[in-house]
């Protein structure tokens, strides 16, 4: 690919400034996975239908398969790799692991990030609020119940890094 077909994009991902030269039509999903090595972000349709590719932009859920990186320069992007504090898992990650809320683990990154955005805005959500917040992220393994319980457990433990 001619170098002229690429653009420099400066992204702030998990608090780190990253610069990549990519074709401008590459989606955020592709840039995260292929150019930045952040393969924790998954894909289920690449059409904005399943939310498997969900990340956070300025703390809010965002479909990376529909997002263009150039639009997001200067914004704070969070992926699942940014959830832990060093080697200390986020309370949601701990709760998901303990309660079996991750079966195959494929929707888990998006589910965790969406739940994190919820707890940041509503530290003690009701079951209905959890259902509502997670309703866009499809899971085919769990039937969602263990996920609801894990979000509630994490919330009961404070919901954020201690």
């Amino acid at each position: 690919m001619p170098i002229a077909d690429r653009v420099a994009v400066r992204l702030r991902v998990n608090g780190e400034e990253m610069v990549v030269m990519v074709p401008p039509y590459k989606t955020l999903l592709e840039v995260l996975r292929e150019d930045l090595g952040l393969t924790g972000t998954k894909h289920g349709c690449e059409l904005g239908e399943c939310s498997t590719c969900g990340v956070l932009v300025d703390g809010r859920p965002y479909l990376s398969c529909l997002a263009m990186p150039l639009d997001l320069e200067g914004r704070a992007i969070t992926t699942v790799e940014g959830m832990a504090d060093g080697s200390e898992p986020h309370p949601l990650q701990l709760a998901f692991a303990e309660l079996g809320a991750a079966q195959c683990g494929y929707c888990t990154p998006a589910m965790l990030l969406t739940a994190m955005a919820l707890l940041d805005r509503d530290p003690h959500p009701t079951r209905d609020a959890i259902k509502d917040a997670l309703s866009g992220v499809l899971c085919r393994c769990t039937g969602y119940l263990k996920i609801f319980e894990a979000v509630e457990l994490a919330a009961s433990r404070g919901g954020r890094h201690g």
């Binding site: 690919m1 996975r33 292929e34 952040l38 393969t39 924790g40 972000t41 998954k42 894909h43 289920g44 349709c45 690449e46 059409l47 239908e49 399943c50 498997t52 992926t79 699942v80 790799e81 959830m83 832990a84 898992p89 949601l92 990650q93 701990l94 998901f96 692991a97 303990e98 309660l99 079996g100 991750a102 079966q103 195959c104 683990g105 494929y106 929707c107 888990t108 990154p109 965790l112 959890i130 259902k131 509502d132 997670l134 309703s135 866009g136 992220v137 499809l138 899971c139 085919r140 393994c141 769990t142 039937g143 969602y144 119940l145 263990k146 996920i147 609801f148």
Partner: protein, 784 residues
């Protein structure tokens, strides 16, 4: 107590959980190798056509394209079953469904690969498509394969059913249809192939059955299997959909051989709908004769399976539609006839419950109607026809433990079914159903006398345990089961076990994550290996301590005399003692299921070393204006034998219920002009968090004598009773019978307004089944 279980039976965090919650699990599409190329597959736009000409010259000339393949590059046919070798990696003469692979390219990036596909010119001669069971049997036009659209027809009888029907006090017949649906794993299939300069091929693939992929690669590529390494990557959901041999696996391998570079192929979501191998559409007729007090005298069951374009697992699926009727009910005489036809749709195969959810829907709605006619409640009818523990069915299936009665009481009592169902307001209803399922198929896919599961253990002198097994974790928790069983036997912690799984170079065979076999079979192999290696440790420790081997126990990372624990040695010291005596401390364990097949042709499908049992009550809330059915509450009980990890078993049960609700109410596998109507995650409906009902899960433990620590399966059985329970609940709510799955709002509205108060098929097509094979019945059933 020294003999209490330390790990088995506890809801511990599974070993792969932290990688999964941190995004560190490496799924197939997460792999990227230096110089890797991207492969794409050109698929048929026609449901049925001859391929007249394929011109790849323009694609080959495109800069960035390194290889183009057509069917002539991979001419050897394959298929998962030895009797159905009817697929080609890339179709050569004919395409049989929209999505059938025709050609493939490898390019330096995906955009160039996509552009190259558009430059491949294919000239087709279209043939009339065959899109239904009725069309397939009508025998007009060119058959999809060979000379007939009939793929498989079977007819078996155990005892004289006609005689029993004539003598029965009550006979009822029903015709129902199950439309079929797809697995919809969140991860699209993906494979990465690397053919090295050493002439060895490695394939990483999201597969439930790496051993079978290994065999197919050897056959189609004409490479010795010793030069092929298949590594199954953790599956981002499987549900049966990744248990076949797929075109993209063979094509990625061939493209890597041609280019000398690694090649990755990841299917798009639309392609996953075409890869399919999902639930067969099945039209069924069930007829039961009963005594006046509601005991089953005989059953006759007919099924017509719509197989799609290829054989896949279809022969097994066909038998499965008739195999488990008699493990769920005590049936003294039984006739089963089935036919599977080819149609121009994506091939059907195994989906969670493989071939048994459809007849389960037929039977459980049928018995709801029978109970009403007999003036019995549906629970009482089931209780009068329970299978017995330690018995054998009329079609020779051996039942060991059976907790069905306990499951029934759990859900009936928990939901207040008997009292509440009579007093529900219009629009709300309760439905009930029961089921049974295999804990692993008793016979392998290809005929052989070797074990079905093997485990190797190698102990490190510092106390670590390397556990090697061919099993692949598809989310069901098989990694945990293996680690928990070995840790339990050796008295160490889960964190002391280092797992290497599903790598044909390194791990001994496990046949795959299908037929709910892994806990039972790989679990038994792991237990055998652990007991063997523990024996070596005990010998070494007994010599050192000058005590009796039988006095020793392994617990808390120590091996100690039972009554003098302070005199023991640490686990690591025990390994060192054993290593000093005999070198590397290692052991293997294997599991071969007992030979249980009955004395008749077709008896290989159905036998299992143990059966799980389930019962469900479902509560629905129906909107009489829109026809929408909402499931508000589910009570599900499952006879698990023993829960090796209760939280993981609950997860399997809850996930099964959820998948069943999607099948009952949403999943539509329908076609228009030969095209799948909904090949996307937006339009193909699947329950979201908002549809999740309140769920009450009861685990019933029967401690099966043949399961590892008494365990049976959990991954598939709990799905089975839920679909018919929904249908029965809709009847309780509205007084209408939707004898067709899925139960969509339009069908509900139609049934409400129709005088028959029913939607469903009225008859089955005319078909001359083969002459009945009148099988011998077990002696205990003779004259019954």
């Amino acid at each position: 107590m020294a003999d209490e279980l330390a790990i088995v039976g506890k809801s511990l965090t599974k070993p792969d959980a932290f990688a999964k919650v941190s995004g560190q699990t490496r799924f197939a599409d997460d792999l990227a190798l230096p110089r890797m190329l991207f492969g794409r597959i050109l698929r048929s736009p026609h449901p049925h056509a001859r391929i007249v000409r394929v011109d790849t010259s323009r694609a080959r000339a495109l800069p960035g394209v390194l290889a183009v393949l057509t069917g002539d590059d991979l001419p050897i046919k394959f298929g998962i079953l030895p009797v159905s070798q009817d697929e080609e990696a890339l179709a050569r003469e004919k395409v049989r469904y929209v999505g059938d692979p025709i050609a493939a390219v490898a390019a330096t990036d995906e955009w160039i690969a996509d552009e190259a596909l558009e430059l491949i010119e294919v000239q087709f001669a279209e043939l009339p498509p065959i899109m239904s069971i009725e069309q397939a049997l009508a025998a007009d036009g060119e058959p999809i394969h060979g000379t007939s659209n009939v793929h498989k027809a079977v007819a078996l009888e155990f005892g004289d059913t006609d005689e029993a029907m004539r003598a029965a006090a009550h006979v009822r017949e029903d015709v129902v249809f199950f439309e079929g649906n797809t697995h919809l794993p969140m991860e699209q299939h993906a494979a990465v192939a690397q053919y090295g300069a050493d002439g060895k091929l490695t394939l990483w693939t999201s597969s439930q059955t790496p051993h079978y992929v290994h065999r197919a690669l050897g056959k189609v590529l004409e490479l010795p299997m010793s030069r092929i390494r298949v590594i199954a990557t953790p599956n981002g959901g499987g549900f049966g959909g990744k248990s076949d041999i797929f075109s993209h696996e063979l094509v990625a391998a061939k493209l890597s051989i041609v280019t000398g570079r690694p090649v990755k192929i990841t299917l798009t979501r639309e392609e996953v709908f075409y890869a399919h191998r999902g639930r067969h559409p099945v039209l069924m007729k069930v007829k039961t004769g009963l005594t006046k007090d509601g005991h089953i005298a005989a059953m006759q069951f007919r099924s017509f399976l719509d197989g799609g374009g290829y054989g896949s697992y279809g022969v097994a699926s066909t038998y499965y539609t008739g195999a488990l009727q008699a493990t769920t009910y005590a049936i003294p005489r039984y006739r089963f006839e089935a036919v599977r036809v080819f149609t121009n749709k994506p091939p059907c195969g195994p989906k969670r419950g493989h071939g048994t959810p459809q007849p389960r829907f037929a039977l459980e709605t049928h018995f709801d109607k029978v109970a009403e006619e007999l003036g019995l409640d549906p629970v009482e009818l089931r209780l009068r026809n329970l299978p017995r523990p330690d018995s054998r069915t009329v079609n020779w299936l051996r039942i060991t433990s059976c907790g069905l009665e306990a499951c029934i009481y759990k859900v009936v009592d928990g939901s207040g079914f008997l009292e509440r169902r009579r007093s529900m307001p219009r629009g709300r209803g309760l439905g009930f159903a029961v089921s049974s399922y295999l804990s692993g198929a008793g016979t392998a896919i290809y005929w052989n006398d070797m074990p079905h599961s093997e485990v190797q253990l190698r102990l490190d002198r510092n106390g670590g345990v390397a556990l090697l097994c061919g099993a692949i974790d598809i989310g069901q928790g098989s990694d945990h089961i293996l680690a928990a069983i070995v840790a339990e036997v050796l008295g160490v912690g889960l964190e002391d076990i280092q797992l290497t799984t599903a790598d044909t170079d390194l791990t001994p065979i496990d046949l795959g994550s299908y037929s709910s076999r892994v806990t039972f079979m790989a679990g038994n192999a792991a237990k055998a290996a652990a007991e063997k290696v523990r024996g070596q440790l005990f010998e070494a420790v007994a010599t050192a301590l000058q005590c009796d081997v039988d006095d020793l126990v392994a617990r808390d990372r120590h091996i100690v005399p039972r009554n003098r624990p302070v005199e023991g040695v640490s686990f690591a010291q025990a390994i060192q003692l054993a290593e000093a005596r005999g070198g590397v401390v290692t052991a293997t364990g294997s599991y071969t299921p007992p030979k249980l097949a009955g004395p008749y042709k077709g008896s290989g499908v159905g036998p299992s070393p143990a059966y799980s049992y389930s019962a469900a009550v479902v509560e629905v809330d129906c909107d009489v204006r829109t026809g929408e059915v909402r499931v508000s509450e589910v009570w599900i009980a499952h006879d698990i034998g023993r829960a090796i990890n209760p939280v993981l078993v609950e997860g399997q049960v809850e996930g099964s219920v959820y998948m069943a609700l999607g099948e009952a109410l949403m999943g539509e596998q329908t076609f228009r002009l030969g095209l799948h109507k909904f090949p996307s995650l937006l339009e193909y409906k699947s329950p979201t968090a908002l549809e999740a009902p309140v769920m009450h899960t009861y685990l019933v433990e029967t401690i099966d004598r043949e399961g590892p620590f008494g365990a049976k399966e959990a991954g598939q059985g709990p799905l089975l009773p839920v679909i018919p329970a929904v249908a029965n609940a809709v009847y309780n709510a509205l007084g209408v019978r939707i004898d067709e799955i899925p139960i969509t709002p339009d069908k509900v509205l139609k049934a409400i307004s129709d005088r028959s108060k029913r939607v469903g098929p009225l008859s089955t097509p005319a078909f001359a089944f083969p002459p009945l094979i009148k099988a011998e019945v077990p002696p205990e059933w003779k004259g019954k």
